[in-house]
């Protein structure tokens, strides 16, 4: 899935959370979206997901606007926020069954079991989500998006509650997802970690894009931008 963003701006009252953002991302890229707090990362993800309307500008997926009325276009966009978007009083299996049905899929018990086994949650399949730890809920979200297979997956700070093996699981999932030609945009403050897996980095600063380039080794331009706009990052 190809993402094209033109002159995208978002204002909250008199405050511009994003201003004049232009972006062209081809399929198969794993994009690291970096920036300090308040840079506009979450706003950008929510705009692309269609959860927030833009003040100005356009967003196109495969040259088509992701219209609110177009359900099949919405099915191609996934938003991964750790420990969110899950019903606490449904079981792990019921959550997966509900969301896969909602996306018009019928994965069958075997596929759901396989997805749960991948994230090491088979033993908790019939337990309520409210009984899971935050890290386990994050693993469940990985299983959910693994089953739904969106063409564009947006991730907002996914590392926060995952343990070491959970992080490895997530990164393996993301790399495999990109290899299939899907686009992934990963917003995180864990700069060194995302730089290891990304194919492109974007830095946002005060609502403006200050850096956007494919990954290189060495990467002097990024280092310069990093020093200027992310001086307290963990790179």
């Amino acid at each position: 899935m190809r993402l094209t963003v033109q002159k995208l701006s978002k204002a909250y009252g008199f405050f511009w959370a994003l201003k004049d953002l232009n972006l062209e991302l081809p399929p198969g890229e794993l994009v690291a979206l970096l920036g300090p707090n308040g840079a506009g990362k979450t706003t950008l993800l929510r705009l692309i997901a269609g959860l927030t309307p833009p003040s100005l500008g356009t967003i196109e997926l495969d040259s088509l606007p992701p219209s609110r009325a177009n359900g099949s276009a919405r099915a191609q966009i996934g938003l991964f926020t750790p420990a969110a978007h899950l019903y606490e009083d449904l079981t792990v299996r019921e959550n997966l069954e509900f969301f896969t049905s909602l996306y018009g899929q019928n994965p069958g018990a075997g596929n759901i079991d396989a997805a749960l086994a991948t994230v090491d949650l088979s033993a908790r399949a019939d337990g309520l989500v409210s009984t899971l730890s935050s890290g386990m809920k994050c693993r469940l979200s990985i299983a959910k998006w693994n089953l739904l297979k969106p063409g564009l997956l947006l991730l907002d700070e996914p590392y926060g509650v995952l343990d070491g093996s959970g992080v490895d699981l997530l990164e393996e999932f993301l790399k495999a997802h990109c290899r299939k030609g899907n686009l992934v945009i990963l917003a995180s403050h864990h700069v060194s970690r995302v730089l290891k897996i990304c194919s492109r980095a974007i830095i946002l600063h005060r609502g403006r894009m200050t850096f956007n380039a494919p990954r290189q080794q060495p990467w002097p331009d990024f280092d310069k931008a990093f020093q200027e706009f992310l001086p307290h990052g963990d790179s």
């Binding site: 269609g50 919405r74 099915a75 978007h85 899950l86 019903y87 606490e88 019921e94 909602l102 996306y103």
Partner: protein
Amino acid sequence: MKLLRETYLVLRKDLVLQVRRRDSLLTMFFFGTLLLFVFHFSFDLVPDRVSELAPGLLWLAFLFTGTLGLAQLFGAERENQCLDALLLSPLDRGALFLAKACLNFTLMLLVELVITPLFWILFNLQTWNLVPQVFFIALLGTVGFCVLGTVMSALTLRARARELLLPLVLFPLMIPVILATIQCLAAVFRAGEIGDALPWLRLLIGFDVIFLTLGVLVFDWVMEV
């Protein structure tokens, strides 16, 4: 078919959550019963005042308990940003509206099944033969209440004081349903049949059909507000 399939999916999920939590249903049931007791101690329903007072009292009990249910209608979606998950999915917004309206209707129906006979018992009414007609009219009024209430509940979803705001915006718009239902109920209590209240019954059915259709059509816009 897609609309009905998605409505069924969301409604089934909501019913499972209601069965597990039981908070909305129990609150509505106890509040409705409490209201009937308050009415019982406040009003002396002698036989010649039944047609004058009973319709209003019964319908008020339904309305107030229903408002409690509406306030909790999107409770499951407010947790864990699940509303975002639904809006992100290819789910038709009309299906979300239908599922939520059906959920509130189901909860109110269960409460009304208990409250209506309790009303007859508490006020020592002898006209048990009127219960089916009263229940039928109350159901039509409940449909109107649920469809408009679901739209208003969604509109106030992101408001800070939504529990306070909801009745304030809902009840003025509900005046046609309230009037029509009470007039129909009064006719039944008075004459044992709809009789001269037939135009009110038509208004009630018209309101139900119009707002049910409008709800499906405009819910996409409502969720964006």
